[in-house]
Amino acid sequence: MKKGDKIVAIIVVCVLILSSAGVYTYMKLIKSNHHIAQIKQDGKIIKTIDLDTVTQNQELKIPYGNDDYNTITIEPGRIKITDADCPDKLCVKTGWISQSGQTIVCLPHKLIIAIQGGSKTVDENVY
């Protein structure tokens, strides 16, 4: 181990700890009981779904360009991409997401589904 190696090791460990702490804090901060799925493509929000009010299973087909698509399945409380014609199908392999902060990303189709936290857009409970 040369001298520079130790410095590199320390820097790398610090960066790792910082980023892990950052992500952990973020997930804790936006944790909420309201699960609103936001579907964003090409930088534009194309659909917002309140997962808590979903009563039946739904399927949505989101086209990309002329021939490409992602098929999304929505069930009460959770959402996932069931099919896509992108080359790697990582979005399909991600599976179900249901907690605030979780995301499914399909990079070739510039698509991201994220479950938001906070309840700023939802009517409050009536007692």
Binding site: S19, C91, V105, C106
Partner: protein
Amino acid sequence: MNKTKKMVVLSLLVSIALIIYVIEGQIPVLFPGIKLGLANLISLTALIIFGWKEALLIMFLRTLLGSMFGGSMSAFMFSIAGGLLSNIIMILLYKYFKNSISIWSISILGAIFHNIGQLLVASFVIQDLRIYIYLPVLLISAVVTGYFIGICTNFLIKHLNKIPVLNSVKK
């Protein structure tokens, strides 16, 4: 004669990198964008044996051909961004610090910046910062693969130095 030899050797290296790239594509991946980056082994070796121009050339060719073979043009964007950033960092580190840093440290930092480059482009493409949630996981995989590649590079260079053909091709 020398120029042709050099071209052939570089082409061989590019094809080896391509094969590594295709094979590693078969390994299941946990999150979007974890390219294990095993093919960087070849870039790093080229950097040490030949120089920075050859390393960049190999990286560029491998990324271009690799995306034509197995990915889309958008995969090309991610690979190029990561590859470029990673190579530049490794070139600078090697040039200025090669006596105080081991190869595997350079390789680890190269792998880390490769993933950072990919994340940068990804966040730009989907216009969303939330993809950075994957940063810690990518960092860990970068450290592990970087170390592994560094060790492989050491082995490779030790044995390549024994091949006389390469000595006549060095600058």
